[in-house]
Every structure is written in structure tokens, then in C-alpha cells.
Assembly symmetry: C2
Homo-oligomer: 342 residues x 2
């Protein structure tokens, strides 16, 4: 398949507005193959609950960003085999499995504007179907026969799981610092982004510097993306993103804006953070008060600067890759994930 010459024709590529739309348009044949594989592998002859729960999530119009990263990385390096499709499906299965488990952990009721699986079925189904998807992803990656790929994805899985536990214990703890925060968001977002791009390079047989550049791009993109997300939870510059402002505050999560404000807190402010975050004694007006304090210490501006710096790092990493239309889109994607906050 020639990149861009897909079923939708060049016009779909031209009409695409966001970088993500452009990736989808460029890689539409590959993505169609990924979607077929996902549907085939989430089937279970004997346990119909599995495709029910999974379809709810997989068909819910998720952005499929991670599999697109894998496909783009491999294609950009001239890969002509079929294993990139398996790896893209692997990455999406891992992502979906973590969403299922996250919703149990967060006791979420909505995801992507729809009721969560744990609400529609039960926590049991979310836990077990998540495990099933993990094991399916494991089978898919073994099929590629690449120990290097298995090593990367095993390490990413461990980072994800460790980050999740760390987030659980770091929440509500005002001692959480920026170093811990970085680990949490690497686990939550960047580890899978980095693995998604890195395995695309590995399967394409890229040289070590190219593989490292892809990993660095994914890592920095993921961190920029997550910091931006955490800023938007305090309003950002655009409230129309579908996420409820203040969710992290109400769940007493120590994200970067709070961490920066806590580090500069006056005694009165510190007492406020102890009450609302550590003790969880939140009253009307506390969120507004929190935002006044963030403003006072320029916490959001400082976070924004960090997100932009990570987006720059992502783009810098791309210079080590060959010139390619997909490379250009990945560069635009790095700008795009922080455009929501600038």
C-alpha cells in the first residue's frame, strides 16, 4: 500500500483537519486491517460477554491514536510487511485493557461520553475482560516472533502498572513532587506512546539511533499530552473539551498544577491544600479558591511552559528520522497536543 493512496483517495488526506485525521487518512488501509484484526481477536466463541464489553469500548469511536503511531512509525521507515498491523492492534488492546481496569479503580461512570463498562455490566466483567485483552495482546505480539518487541512491550506494561499503583498511593499525598508526577504520567500515558512508536521502528528493522528517536518522540509526545490534559482539568484556555473541569481536584489527584502551587504555598494556602486534598473535606467554592491560588503562583503558566518544552523535545527527536510526509504529520501532532492549552 502506498501511503496516502488509500480507499478514500487523496481528497480525504487533503480534507483532514487535525494531524490525527491526517494520520487516519494516510493510513486508512492499514487502520482498516487493524480494525478487522481487533474484531477477530476480541471474539470469544464461548464467552459472549467478552465481545460485548470490548465492542462497547473498541467501537466507541476512540481516537486510535496509539495504533496510528505504530503504523506511522513503521511505514515512515519503508516497512512493507504485515506485522505492524499486529503490533498496532496489540497496542490498542493494551490501551483498552488499561481503560477497563482504570474505570474500576476510578469508579468512573462515563468514558468518551458513554456509560463505562463497569456501570453497564459490573466491575467483575471489567476486570476479567481487561485481563482477557491483555492476554490477547500478548498472543499477538508473540506472533511477530520478535523478542525485542516483546521486551519493549513487557517493560512498557510494567511501567504502566507501576505508574497506576503509584498514582493510587500518591493521590491525596501533598508530598508528591514533580519527579513522582513524571513517573505517574509516564506510566499513565507516555510509556505506551513510546512503546507504540518504538516497536514500529523495530519491526521495520530501523537502526538504533532511529529506534531511539522514535522512542523519545513517543515519550515526549505522551508527556506533553498528559500535562496538557492535566492543565485542562483546571480550565486551561478552552473549556469546551468534554472533560469536566475540576475532576482531578474532586478526586484529590496531585497533578502538576497543584504540585507547583503546593511547592509555593503560604502557611494559609498549605492549610487549605491539607483540608481539601489530604483530608478530602471539600466545600462549595473550594475549586474556585484553588484556581485563585494556582493563578497567584502562575502555576498554570509554568505547566504550560513545560508542556510546550516537551512538545519541542518530541519534534526535535523527529530530526533523526528520514524526511517523509508522515514525519511532517507527527511533527504537527506534537504541536497539536499542546494547541489545546496555548
Amino acid at each position: 500500500m502506498k501511503v496516502g493512496m488509500d480507499g478514500l483517495g487523496e481528497s480525504a488526506v487533503e480534507k483532514a483537519v487535525t494531524p490525527q485525521d491526517k494520520l487516519s487518512a494516510h493510513l486508512s488501509d492499514d487502520m482498516a486491517a487493524v480494525n478487522r484484526l481487533i474484531r477477530a481477536r476480541m471474539a470469544s466463541e464461548h464467552a459472549p460477554r467478552i465481545p460485548e464489553v470490548t465492542a462497547h469500548l473498541v467501537e466507541a469511536g476512540g481516537k486510535r491514536l496509539r495504533p496510528l503511531l505504530t503504523l506511522a512509525s513503521a511505514r515512515m521507515l519503508g516497512y512493507t510487511g504485515v506485522d505492524h498491523v499486529k503490533l498496532a492492534a496489540t497496542v490498542e488492546f493494551i490501551h483498552t485493557a488499561t481503560l477497563l481496569h482504570d474505570d474500576v479503580v476510578d469508579e468512573s461512570e462515563r468514558r468518551r461520553g458513554r456509560p463505562t463498562a463497569n456501570l453497564l455490566w459490573d466491575n467483575k466483567s471489567s476486570v476479567l475482560v481487561g485481563d482477557y485483552l491483555f492476554s490477547r495482546s500478548f498472543q499477538l505480539m508473540v506472533e511477530t516472533g520478535s523478542l525485542r518487541v516483546l521486551d519493549i512491550l513487557a517493560n512498557a506494561s510494567a511501567t504502566i502498572a507501576e505508574g497506576e499503583v503509584l498514582q493510587l498511593t500518591a493521590a491525596q499525598d501533598l508530598r508528591t513532587d514533580e519527579k513522582i508526577y513524571l513517573q505517574v504520567i509516564r506510566g499513565k500515558t507516555a510509556a505506551l506512546f513510546a512503546a507504540a512508536t518504538e516497536v514500529g521502528g523495530v519491526i521495520a528493522g530501523a537502526s538504533e539511533p532511529v529506534v531511539a528517536a522514535l522512542r523519545d518522540y513517543g515519550d515526549a509526545l505522551g508527556i506533553a499530552f498528559q500535562i496538557a490534559d492535566d492543565i485542562l482539568d483546571y480550565g486551561g484556555s478552552d473549556a469546551a473539551i468534554g472533560k469536566n473541569t475540576g475532576d482531578d481536584f474532586r478526586e484529590r489527584k496531585l497533578t502538576l498544577p497543584l504540585i507547583k502551587a503546593v511547592a509555593k504555598a503560604s502557611p494559609e494556602e498549605h492549610a487549605f491544600w491539607v483540608r481539601v486534598i489530604e483530608k478530602g473535606d471539600q466545600r462549595d467554592g473550594d475549586l474556585a479558591q484553588a484556581m485563585v491560588i494556582l493563578q497567584r503562583h502562575d502555576a498554570i503558566s509554568a505547566c504550560r511552559a513545560e508542556a510546550l518544552a516537551w512538545a519541542s523535545r518530541a519534534k526535535d527527536a523527529l530530526y533523526n528520522l528520514p524526511v517523509h510526509p508522515l514525519r511532517q504529520i507527527l511533527s504537527e501532532l506534537a504541536d497539536f497536543v499542546v494547541s489545546r492549552i496555548s
Copy 2:
């Protein structure tokens, strides 16, 4: 290490009473290495909750049967490397992870006579630490560098997860037949037993017939073990096993004794099963009534015969393996798992 010439000396082997004790005594140096590896790998520098939760389970005096099966399989075939220790730890991590998730799914409060992790910490910790152990097991098996081993364990993981979901949906459903039951218990028990023995053979470089024999042994042993367990839940011949008689009945699980009784039910009996299992309307005396019905149809005897037949199959599979003291103990182990019901 010469088998049997371990730190405890020959006397420990002689004093061992059960086949499992004998395996532990024969393989005590290897098991010490497995335990060291488990402790090292369950550590997490950043998330102390992980070793807390894991230690609670791993140190709880579990029988370590699965890692012993891996060690015994490899040693019996003359393996002198170190990867069998990694695989034994892998198998124990997978087992521990499934226990953590099972306790969330079953809403259990006690395991091995102690409060469960979900009760001591919370469901969140059990879900996430289970995920962490899965990812750790995955890293360990990748370290062996054997794609064959990875393939076996990936397939076992999928069978386990599918069996768990199947059990969830088959529970309370009187249409559950013996074929579905077999799948459920393969997922619940036999798949990991079979993988534990099979990977021991693979890592030892055994021939295909020997590898197949080890897999068949583990599969049949696991099935015999689980049928015996399900019989004991209805009292068996010995109530002193620490398991509460009637748990499966109260949880409305369709295990083999019930499936056999339901298949032969009179219209009145069928109505009884619909009420207590499908509708979950259980009253005082219902368990006793259920046991009378089981007795009437010789359901327990029929289950016992099946468990004994699977134990025989396990022993038969061993004939394809070379003569070895460990082979003799594995044969005794097959008799032992059904001795509880005969």
C-alpha cells in the same frame, strides 16, 4: 545441584509426608532461588504498596505447587541451566495475579485463612497490583529468550482469562453443561498446571513427545485437582479441609456435582434448582436439600469417578518420560490430589 542433595539433606526428603512435601524437599535449593527471585521482582522502589500487597499473598504460605511442577519437569529431564527458576517464578506470579483479581471478582474476604488483599487494602490495589504481577511475569519470561515458552504462556493466559469470564457468565445458568464446565476448570486450574509442566520440558530442550507428555500430565492433574475441589465443596469424604462446605452453592456456581444432578432432575428438582441457583432465592435447609438430591442421583460418586479417571490419565502420561525419582513423586501427586475424595 543434584536432585535431593539440597540444603536440608536426604533426611528432609525421607521425612516428607505428602508428594508435595517431597517435591519441596527434593527441589529445596531451586525453590530457595525461586523465592529470592520472587522477592526481588515484586519489589518496587516507587510504589511500596506493591510489595505490601504481594508479600501478603506470596508469603502467606501458599503451596507453591505450580513452580514446583516447573522445576520438577526441567530437572527430571536433566536441565542444568537457570531459566527454570525464572519460569517457576513466572508461573507463581501469574497464579498470584489471578488470585488477586479473583478475590475482587468473587468479593472474597478470606484466602488461605487470612483476610484477602481487597479487604485489607481495597479493590483498586488488588486490580492494579495484579496487573503489575502480570507484567512482571511477562518480563521474566522474555528474559528466557524462548519464543516457544512465550507462546505457551501467552496461550495459557488467554485460556485462563477466557475461563474466568466464562465462569462469570455460566454461573447461575442451569444450561451450563459438562463441556462448558471443563473449559471453565481448564481456565481456572488446568491451563496453568499444563503450562507449568510444559515450559519446564521446553526449557530443558526435551523432544516433542516428552513435551506433549508433560503438558498432558499437567492438564489432567489440574482437572483432577479441580473436580476434587468442587466435590469437597459439597462435603466430600473429609470436611476438615479448611474450605467452607457450600460456598459454591451459596455463590450459585454450576460445578460438576450440580451439573450432573441438574441433568437428571425431576420436574420438582428442576424447580428447586431454578429457585436456588438461577433466582438465588436460598433459604435455610436448601444446602441440605441440595445434598440429598445429589445423593439421590449419585452425582458425587459420578464426579469422583471422573476425578479418578483424570488422575489416571495424568499418571499414564508420565510413562512417556524417563525414569527418575521426580517422575515417581509426580505420579504420587496425581494419586494424592484425588485421595482427598476417595
